[in-house]
Symmetry: C2
Subunit: 365 residues, 2 copies
């Protein structure tokens, strides 16, 4: 069902988006302040993907590059809206709605900012079903919607249209190189599609899901219930219905290195239970990619590996992981459309240089 | 007067374009073979800039990056024409004519290739009046025509539109970064303008001039006359009327280094006359930039410093300079519109990091 999102929903949505960021995706809290400012006492119409017209023209918007840098620049600007307007001009057609390309991290908020600025509705779906580091890692791309043409805009008034046809990896390469030249971040509009395309290629209702995760955590804290049970309850009716506690413990080591513009590294944990001597490791590349206990796989991309505070369930990003943190690691199953062979080719283990085969988190002990 | 260019003109035009390349601009000889193939027995209409309509819509085309790489790729492709078509689509208007942005080197041939493929006429003017290494080093830009929007295309079907408004330096930076990512070269269409703009901002009749230089050299050789007198005769009725022999001698040293994507270096020469002990040096950055005799300035950018074979007057590019070559160095004056303070800001000595002030070659001893 379509619904109205108001300012009061934003803190919950940001918390849920941080959870779905699985350690990456940028900090949504600064983004939510921007949306709050633009929205005021108004509301944003969130369209259920099952209820939209087949020919609804949807233009998603996002940030690319270092999101925190961009968010700070954005305080004075309208870059995502400008990117959307340029892509509209390129198509010679106005958007009927906008949409996220990513439901984890800051990019879940950017379409809401454009919606607050314009009154456009936002389709409750996205193309990652979580956070991923590259523009091409999209269910949209997997199922035949092209990233091309993409509009990029940056703070000095640069406007760029890139088109590489069906080659979505190529557009990621070109846009990434340009983003570096543009000062490290850019606003983008891409993956323009119809309502029928959204239903065929998108991960449905991920805005609602982020909101319900964030709300469940907040309400459980207020009522002194377990936020972890609340997260499980919030996920139960969604396409992400399996959630499992992978580990509870303390971080004893974090290795980090920057490679090819990505923050890669590994976190090592020991159990909170002194009788449990197992070693738990998480490898990350911006997002958490794979978790192992004593070398045995317990969860792997694209399934969600969410590191949260042991007591409050507050999501912890890979860049803020540090020695001594007491955390819980949750594994969450992803929808079937994110686990097909085509999807796994695009954003499964081999896409990140991992040699492990994908095994659904619910089948791993 | 407007005129028809045929296949028989191409070798002369290529030789003249190599002369106007002042050591850079890429090798026009491969480009001329391509035009020859596309042209067959047909002809290309060359429009005199004084005779075109004020509202003629002109879209120049060129190559960017490493021209020899691109030319080889081009043998199978239509990238410059594709770039022109994309810029037409972006404007929503078809070009009435094309034009060079550069009259030295390979880029003098690329508009002729597009003309041979389409039947479009070519305006007899350009925006450099020689060869320069950067997209922004244009009289078009100096006098108020923007490079933006620019269309880039490359061999894997990439289509890009860049727009940085009036910031022509910025578009050079972005297009340069993209060209590297595109494999080192791209075809471009940019500096779209009207016939009135061409008259106000272009260097007129540089295609005719290249042709007459190349023809003069060929005819002089065939008739055993001095090709150097023939060059002077060919230039006399043009805006480049002053030509001077700066030095005759042998190359005794060439230093080269690659910096920021440019071939920089210095060539040292000694006189052919044993009684003359002076040291002659040419500094280059793709093109020859400054020539000194015993440390005294004898010619400096944007005036032309052309190194040619001592006997045949065949132009020698900076990349083929080598020890032992016997050469003549000619200095050629450039038109007044290339020597204004605004023009010198854009492509005079400071634009190349030189601290010397510009002095016209005809005022230097």
């Amino acid at each position: 069902m379509s619904w109205e999102l108001t300012r009061a929903d934003l803190p919950d949505l940001a918390r849920g988006a941080a959870f779905l960021g699985t350690g990456g995706g940028g900090d949504p809290y600064i983004g939510h302040k921007l949306v709050e400012l633009a929205l005021g006492e108004g509301s944003i119409t969130i369209l259920d993907p099952d209820e939209i017209a087949d020919d609804l023209f949807v233009i998603p918007v996002a940030l690319m590059g270092a999101p925190t840098v961009m968010i700070e620049k954005l305080l004075a600007g309208h870059e995502p809206l400008t990117a959307l307007r340029h892509l509209e001009a390129h198509y010679g057609r106005q958007a009927d709605a906008t949409m996220p390309i990513e439901c984890g991290g800051v990019n879940s908020l950017i379409p809401l900012l454009v919606a607050a600025q314009t009154g456009l509705p936002v389709v409750d779906a996205d193309g990652m079903g979580r956070a991923f580091p590259e523009l091409s890692m999209e269910t949209f791309a997997v199922y035949g919607v092209n990233a091309s043409p993409i509009a990029l805009t940056a703070e000095r008034g640069e406007h760029i249209i890139l088109d590489t046809g069906a080659d979505n990896k190529r557009i990621e390469q070109l846009a990434r190189a340009l983003t570096v030249e543009l000062g490290g971040s850019a606003a983008i509009a891409e993956y323009a599609m119809t309502g029928a395309d959204v239903r065929r290629t998108g991960v449905p209702r991920t805005i609602s899901m982020a909101l319900s995760i964030g709300r469940a955590i907040r309400e459980a804290r207020a009522e002194h219930r377990s936020p972890f049970e609340a997260i499980a309850d919030a996920l139960a009716p969604t396409l992400y219905s399996h959630v499992r506690e992978l580990f509870v413990g303390k971080i004893v080591d974090v290795e980090r290195r920057t490679e090819g513009g990505f923050a890669r590294g590994r976190a090592k944990l020991v159990s909170a239970d002194a009788t449990d001597t197992s070693a738990f490791e998480i490898d990350f590349q911006n997002e958490n990619l794979v978790a192992r206990r004593d070398g045995q796989l317990v969860a792997i991309v694209p399934d969600l590996i969410c590191v949260v505070d042991q007591e409050t369930a507050e999501p912890i990003t890979t860049e803020t992981l540090r020695y001594g943190q007491r955390v819980r690691v949750l594994g969450v199953s992803t929808p079937a459309l994110m686990r097909t062979p085509e999807a796994l080719d695009t954003f499964g283990p081999p896409a990140f240089g991992l040699t492990d085969a994908f095994v659904p988190v619910e089948e791993l002990s």
